[in-house]
Amino acid sequence: MSDARPIMPEHPPVTDWVHDFDHTDPRWTENPFPIWDELRSASPVVHTDRFLGCYLPTTYEAVREIAHDTEHFSSRRVIVRDVRPETTGVAPPITSDPPEHKPAKQLLLPPFTPDAMKRLEPRVRAICNELIDEFIADGKCDAAARYTKHVPVRAIAHMLGIPEKDSDLFIKWIHEILELGIRDDDALMRAVHEMSGYFAGHIEYRKQHKTDDLISTLMNAKDKTGQPLSDGHVLGSLRLLLIAGIDTTWSAIGASLWHLAKTPADRERLIAEPELMPTAVEELLRAYSPVTMAREVMKETTISGCPVKPGNMVLLSFPAANRDPAVFPDADKVVLDRKENRHAAFGLGIHRCVGSNLARMEMTVALEEWLKRIPEFRLDPAGQVKWSEGTVRGPRQLPVLFGKAG
């Protein structure tokens, strides 16, 4: 167990990205794209001694190989951190490997199909408009704090059957787990415990009262042997849905609005050609993929010709894969009508994001409703855009002014 609960010192600034990369360096947080290009031109797989040893595949092909190789790479740890305490608080199926993975994943898939998302869509549209109502008269807002953050939290709360008003609590836990947790094990464990306590209450309530929501669906699910899931399994999956379902989509919607705020031609095109939205959403997902996952090397192997040794973590950068010019011509350009786009924003292989259909629907609806009500907007020159640190990248502060400039 992690009794020591170390809080690691600040990381020294990086001077040699190829041999000493650090995804928590402020320059990576601010603008990772040139760093990935530099690393990719050096090698398909690079290594750092930081984080107790970690690889980074830099090409689409290397990322694809690792994502498909569950024999040499385990998902039991899905965040690269300074510490590697014993694995506790599992969240199946994201932290599961074969053969446990498939049955755990199959339980979660039916509530997240595109058809299920269509039924949720009207509520998400209403959420977007309720949020816009709160700030549209101001002529400006911090779109990350007032809009993009709340859309996925309220949507997932609605699906789970927990009060949408508890949103701020969820946002706090996610910040403590995904951002503070990289360096501060104590903050992470505290947040996990608080979250578990919260959900345990909702599980208990449903043992007495019938509800029609995702928590009940999970509680009523049976495993392969016909047994109901343990409370621990339900709890782990609920933690996963909350953590994975919020700041990821928050980031994707935010990065899309950031792009549209500074790219009037794309904004005008989306308004003029609304039928382009599904293709545009895929391209925005490619260009600004929020989620980097992790694996742990279990057995020695080679990836794209590079030796990979056990004891190391892997930063599985789907965002870097999606900027690989060998697969995507003009990889650094946002091409709203890109025809061929096999992007890996939702991962590749068995761990494909279970919420990908939810995320796409939320992104589409959030952008459509914003553009309907606020067709003209731009970055506020008096404000500053701030990007999240860690393995989910998106704007956490996004000040925008409504209306035409000048």
Partner: protein
């Protein structure tokens, strides 16, 4: 004229990204887990050939085969 197209989704590869269903809803169905299957025997009706190629080109798992009969 080229021959008729036939599509097939490899169930060992499909991971349910659902890109094909979004791009070519006439040619693909999703099952209860969201995994894709070709409609009927996979024959592509005339006029939908481009959609078949588009679906193949956008499948992240390279799970869609398109063959010309």
């Amino acid at each position: 004229m080229s021959g008729k197209l036939k599509i097939h989704v490899d169930q060992d590869k499909c991971q349910g990204h659902a890109r094909c269903k979004s791009l070519a809803p006439e040619l693909f169905n999703l099952d209860e887990f969201g995994n894709a299957h070709e409609v009927g025997d996979g024959s592509v009706p005339a006029g939908l050939e481009d959609k078949a190629w588009l679906a193949k080109a956008n499948c992240p798992e390279i799970a869609i085969e398109v063959t010309e009969e």
